[in-house]
Amino acid sequence: MSNTSGGRLGFLSLRSKAVATGVVIVFLISGVTTSFTLFTVRAYITNQRITSATNQAAVLSREVARLLRDGIEPNSALEEISASSNSIQTFLETINFSITARAGTDISTIPEMLRANAHNGTPGRQIYKHAGTPYLAMAFPIEIENSSKYVFISVVSLSELNRIIVILGRMLVIGVMIASILGGIVGLWLSRRVSEPLRRVGDAALLIAAGDLAIQLPHAKEPDLNKISTSFNEMTKSLRNRIDREARFGAVVSHELRSPLTAIRSASDLLDSHRAELSPQLASTVDLLSERVVTFQKILNDLIEISRYESGNVQPNLEELKIIRILESLLARHHMAKDDFLEATSSEDQTVLVDAKRFKYIFDNLIDNATLYAGGIAKIRVETIDDNVYVHFDDAGIGIPPTMQKLIFDPFVRGARHSNIHGSGLGLAIAKEHATNFLGSISVSTSPEGGARFTVGLQKGSEAE
C-alpha cells in the first residue's frame, strides 16, 4: 500500500530518487550492452581459436601420415613434428589402441567418444575440461597403404583463451561500474541544478511560514527556473503588501478607537463615583457600562497587540526575576492567597529570564479564562527541570478535549458553549506569541486532577538577584 508521501520510496528526497533512477538506467543499459558485447566477442574469438587449432592439427595430421607412409616409426614421426608444435600435445593411436605419445602427455583425459569415432573413420573435435582447464581435442584417422590404421590426436589447451575472456569480462564489468558512477555524478549535478531553485523555494516557504515575509529568491540563470523565482518573489511581495495593509488597518482603527474609549471610560468612572446618588436602575446601568468599557478596552488592547505582532513591531524587555516573587505579586493583584494556590517543587526561588509585562499578560489571561470557563484556577505549580522552569496553571474544570487542545492557541477559537462570553478571542493567540517570542513556550494538557493545564516554560536566569 502506498502512502501520500510517495510509496515505498517515500523516505527518499526527490533529488535522491532522480539520481537513483539515473544510476539504475545507466547500469541496466551499459550492463545489457556489455553482456551482449562479451558474449559476441567470446563466441568470435573461441571460434577463431578452434578454427585455427583445427587447421593446424589437420596440417600436422597430414605431415604425420606422410612420415608414416615413408616408413618412419610413429614415435619418430611425432618427434619430427614436435619442432613446429611445441604447445600442442600429439598422440598416435593404432587400431588396437596401442598409443604412441610424446613424453609428458596423458591420453587418458581425452574423451573416449572422440577417439572411438576417429577409429571408425570419422574425424572430430571436442572441448572438454580437465583439472579445471579447458582443452580442445581433435582426432583424425590416418590410413596407410599397407592397411595399417592410426588415429592422430592433437590436444590444445584453451586456458589462455579463457584467461583473455575473463580479463575482457572484468574490464567490461569495471566499465559498467565506472559508467554507472559517472551516470550518478552527472545525475547528481544535473538534479542539483534543477532542484536547487526548488530547494530555495522550499526553504523560503519555511521562512515565510515562520513569519519572514521579506525573503526574496535570487535570479536564476535558466529561464525556466527563473520563472519560478520571479513568480515566487511576486507572490511574497503581494502577500507582504496584503499583510501590511491589514496590519496598518488594524493598528489605525485600534489607535483611533482609543480617544473615544478614553472619553467613555472617564465618563463611566465619573458616573460610577456618583453611584450613590443614582437610582438602582441607573446604578445597574452604570455597572453594565463600566464592565463593558473594561472588556472593550481589553479587546482593543488585544487588537493593538496582535497588529503589532503582525507588523513585526515588537521588542522584548527581558529581565532576570524570581519566579515565585512574580507569581506572588500577580496573585496578590487578583486577590488570590498564595498559600491556597501556589506550589513549587524546588524550595529555592529560581531566577528566570522573563519579559515581565508579557508574562503578566499570560498570567492574567489564564486566570481570567479559568474563571470564565472552568470554575477558576485550582493550583499554580512551579516545576524546575534542568535549565527550565515550568509554571503549570491547573484549572478546576473538566479539561479540554484533545481536538480542541490542538486549536486552542489559534485566534478567535472558543468553545461552542462559551460563545456568549465577551472577549476578543485573541487572548491565547497573543499568549502564544508572547511565550514563544519572549519567554520560552506555552502548551496545553490535562492536569493530574483532570482539569485543563496550561504550562508556560521559562529559561533559568544566569544570576540570582
Binding site: T262, S268, D269, L270, E305, E319, E320
Partner: protein, 227 residues
C-alpha cells in the same frame, strides 16, 4: 494641603471629564490644552506633579517634558498610546519619571498619582531620619537636597529618591525591583526601564558635578554606590 496637578490634554471633553473626576477625588487640577500653555504654567505656578499627554498639537508632549525638566524638579507622568515603547523610551530620556498607557480610567490615574507622591514626598511623620551621608555625598530628606562636599547637586524628585535609596542601603546592592517598589510604588513587576533611565540621568548629573562617588552596575543584580 491639596495636591496641585497640572494636566495637559488637547481633547476638551476628555480633559474636562478627567479634571472633574480628579477634582472630586480631592486634587486641585489645573488643566491646559496645549504645550505652550503648559510651559507657561510650569514657569509661573507651583505644582506637585504634571501629567502630560504625549500626543499634543503644536509643541509635542515630549518637547514639553524636555523643556519643563530644565526648570522644574516635580514628577512628570506622561500618557502614551498603549504599547508604544519608542514613545516611552523617548519620554523617559527627556526627563519623564513615569508613564501610563491610554486609555486610562480616572480611578487608576488617581491611584498612580497618590503612589508616586507618597514615595517622593512622604508624610513628614514617616521620616525617621532626615540626614544621610556617603563619602562626600550628603542628603537632607527634609530639604530634598543633595550635596557633594557642600556643593548642591541639582536633582529631580525622582533622582533624589533613587540616590537616597542607594545611600541608605549602602553597602548593600539595590535591585531594580527594590527601587521600583520604594521610589515608584510598584510591586515586583514594574517596568525596569524606569529605573535604568533614572540611573542613567543620575550618573550624568553626578559626573557633571564632578562627584567622586559613582553608581556601579552589578550585572544581573542591581546597583551600588561606590567611592
Amino acid at each position: 494641603m491639596q495636591t496641585r496637578i497640572l494636566f495637559v490634554e488637547d481633547d476638551n471633553k476628555i480633559r474636562h471629564l478627567i479634571t472633574t473626576s480628579m477634582n472630586e477625588d480631592g486634587f486641585l487640577v489645573t488643566d491646559v490644552e496645549s504645550g505652550e500653555d503648559a510651559l507657561t504654567r510650569i514657569e509661573n505656578d507651583q505644582f506637585d506633579i504634571a501629567i502630560v499627554d504625549l500626543r499634543l498639537p503644536g509643541i509635542s508632549g515630549l518637547e514639553v517634558v524636555r523643556r519643563a525638566r530644565k526648570t522644574t524638579a516635580i514628577p512628570i507622568v506622561v500618557l502614551t498610546a498603549f504599547g508604544d515603547s519608542h514613545d516611552v523610551v523617548a519620554a523617559l530620556e527627556a526627563g519623564a519619571d513615569d508613564f501610563l498607557n491610554k486609555p486610562i480610567g480616572t480611578k487608576e490615574l488617581s491611584a498612580r498619582i497618590r503612589a508616586i507622591l507618597r514615595r517622593i514626598s512622604p508624610p513628614i511623620e514617616e521620616v525617621t531620619d532626615s540626614h544621610f551621608t556617603f563619602g562626600t555625598l550628603a542628603i537632607s530628606i527634609d530639604l530634598h537636597e543633595a550635596t557633594s562636599s557642600g556643593r548642591q547637586i541639582d536633582l529631580t524628585r525622582t533622582e533624589f529618591q533613587v540616590l537616597k535609596e542607594l545611600i541608605v542601603r549602602s553597602p548593600k546592592i539595590v535591585t531594580r525591583h527594590d527601587l521600583l517598589e520604594s521610589v515608584w510604588g510598584y510591586d515586583y513587576l514594574g517596568d525596569s526601564r524606569l529605573v535604568d533611565m533614572q540611573i542613567y540621568r543620575l550618573r550624568s548629573k553626578l559626573a557633571e558635578c564632578e562627584v567622586p562617588e559613582s553608581i556601579q552596575t552589578i550585572r544581573g543584580v542591581g546597583f551600588k554606590i561606590v567611592e
